[in-house]
């Protein structure tokens, strides 16, 4: 049932000690059902280090005020903290302009912003939008809805049996009437790292724009959106040590300038009369209403934390841990692993299926052993169907996970099979 794990081409070295990193995360000291928590659900959301928690609390304790309005000290402090994070993000993703960084609530909202604001003005009947078969609903449903509104057609780049995109017929998929190619950087189910640079180039060759869903990409590897030449890149703070409720859309300035606002209200305006309004400059044009200021301020120490570790090291740790997990899961004759088996070509979200035990029963059993995994369709229903299973189990790793965590998972899976009387 299980295939052999390809030996990884790179022998990664450990640049940091995940065991000591665990100490910065108070939640990882918790006991769940009598066992020390083993958190293997970071693809859903990562845990937060103490400094992030402190920054959020500190903002509300000392600096709470609304941003960009009010001429008092607190308002100044809140505004400068809020804008400080924007600058850090602009730097983190490759040194872009702060005008190109738009605060949203999450990756989903970032993509919806593009689908509504850019989509409405640029997509018409007969145009084509290209996505892939491995998209998360966040990079799928907004395009289904846009196609429905406009009469555009949707086409998908297929995946092969190993979980890679099959670019064999790409010329027939990214056609001259294609206006947008929307691709996930890293699959949240298969773990596949997609050749986004190549896809962006192919899109541009056909005169289309490219949007990258970076929810599982940005947190896990060095990303330079300018080197990629992405037109849009969407990601969330909560999947990279930051708080929930904060996400970002990077967009090229010249494109963002042509787009109409997505939400209307306070903050995003320049001048308003009773029968007239015009819009603020970038990036505020897209930021109507009071944002999640505490969340934004809480994200700065998360970025500091990742910068200190270095994203190269974060990626190397993930390669090493994923290789180990793939190797150990392959010990189970009953378990099928989905996605690439070469850890240098994939991220740390590992989906698998035990032919005898439904993923929900598996997750329930593992929870009783203090292990948190995800079970279900992972917001990728069409993909799960394509894989031919009702649901999958997914273990996903981040900087605080260790080989011991993988061993704990594997031992618990063995115990699970005995519990359900299969071994």
């Amino acid at each position: 049932m299980s295939r052999l794990v390809e030996p990884s081409a790179i022998k990664p070295s450990v640049y940091f000690d995940p065991e000591s990193i665990k100490n910065d995360f108070p939640i990882l000291k918790r006991f769940i059902n009598g066992r020390k928590l083993v958190y293997l659900d970071s693809a859903a959301t990562t845990q937060k280090p103490q400094m992030v928690i402190d920054a959020i609390a500190g903002y509300y304790q000392l600096h709470n005020a609304n941003v960009h309005r009010g001429l008092h000290t607190l308002a100044d402090e809140a505004t400068s903290g809020f804008e400080n994070t924007r600058r850090k993000v602009a730097e983190f993703i490759g040194g872009v302009k702060t005008e190109e960084i738009i605060y949203t609530s999450n990756t989903t909202e970032s993509i919806n912003l593009v689908a509504f604001s850019w989509g409405q003005g640029n997509i018409k009947a007969g145009d084509r939008i290209v996505a892939t078969q491995m998209e998360h609903h966040a990079n799928l449903v907004p395009w289904i809805a846009l196609a429905k509104r406009t009469g555009a057609e949707l086409e998908y780049i297929p995946i092969d049996n190993d979980g890679y995109l099959d670019l064999g017929n790409i010329d027939k998929i990214i056609t001259p009437n294609t206006r947008l190619v929307a691709v996930t950087h890293v699959s949240n189910v298969l773990g596949t790292i997609n050749p986004v640079e190549e896809l962006i180039r192919l899109a541009h060759d056909r005169g289309a724009l490219a949007l990258i869903d970076g929810a599982q990409g940005m947190p896990h590897m060095p990303v330079d959106v300018r080197a990629l030449d992405a037109d849009f890149y969407a990601f969330s703070a909560h999947k990279m040590l930051g708080p929930t409720g904060i996400g970002f859309l990077y967009g090229k300035q010249n494109i963002l300038e042509t787009m109409e606002p997505y939400n209307y209200g306070g903050e995003m305006i320049n001048e308003v009369r009773y029968n007239y309004a015009d819009w603020a400059e970038l990036p505020y044009k897209f930021e109507a209403g009071t944002p999640d200021i505490g969340g934004a301020i809480g994200f700065a120490p998360a970025l500091n934390y990742l910068n200190k570790l270095g994203m190269e090291a974060v990626r190397h740790h993930e390669i090493e841990l994923t290789a180990y997990a793939l190797e150990r899961l392959a010990e189970f004759e009953s378990i099928k692993i989905f996605g690439p088996l070469n850890s240098t070509k994939r991220g740390g979200a590992v989906s698998f299926y035990d032919r005898d035990i439904h993923p929900h029963d598996m997750a329930q059993f593992l929870d009783s052993r203090g292990i948190a995994i995800r079970a279900g369709h992972h917001c990728a229903m069409p993909l799960t169907k394509l894989l031919g299973v009702p649901a999958t189990a997914r273990a996903s790793f981040y900087i605080y996970n260790t080989k011991d965590d993988v061993d704990t998972l594997v031992e618990a899976l063995k115990e699970m099979r005995r519990y359900f009387k299969y071994d």
Partner: protein
């Protein structure tokens, strides 16, 4: 810690999961319904053979977790030979029980008693409900059609 797990996966549940009853398709089908929990990926096919409002035979084909399979298996044993009105009453009772409502009616639930543990695992309740909801929907639809047929012949 394993105690609460054993409360969910009681021996009777495990037995119904490993050896589900009422699996084979019926030769004559009067009521056929499908149940789905799209978020779990669980799928269920329920067939009933009815004779004079009595459930003559039943088949439950379920692709899902241990709880949904066991619940369907128990259903197949419990409703066989019973009158449709009684079946509906049992199904409503089960739904109430799983939702943690105080049920005043007094049923001998048999193996169904073992499903009681599910109510302490909120995310699993819908697994246990799948077959029972399909059963109620199936009977309702059938009765509707029956009535429609009757009224059209008048």
């Amino acid at each position: 810690m394993t105690d609460s797990l054993n409360d969910l996966y009681r021996d009777i549940i495990m037995d119904h999961f490993r050896y589900p009853r009422g699996q084979k398709h019926l030769d004559k089908v009067d009521i056929k319904t499908e149940g789905k929990n799209p978020t779990c990926g669980d799928e269920l096919e329920l067939e009933l053979k009815i004779d004079h409002d009595i459930v003559e035979d039943v088949s439950v084909g379920c692709k899902g977790c241990a709880i949904s399979i066991a619940s369907g298996s128990i259903l197949s044993e419990l409703v066989k030979g019973k009158d449709l009105q009684e079946v509906k009453k049992i199904a409503r009772h089960v739904k109430g029980m799983l939702k943690g409502e105080n049920m005043s009616d007094n049923f001998n639930l048999g193996d169904l008693e073992a499903l009681k543990g599910v109510k302490d695992f909120p995310v699993r309740i819908k697994c246990a409900l799948l077959s029972w909801t399909a059963l109620i929907d199936g009977i309702d639809a059938w009765e509707h059609k029956e009535k429609a047929k009757v009224s059209s012949t008048e």
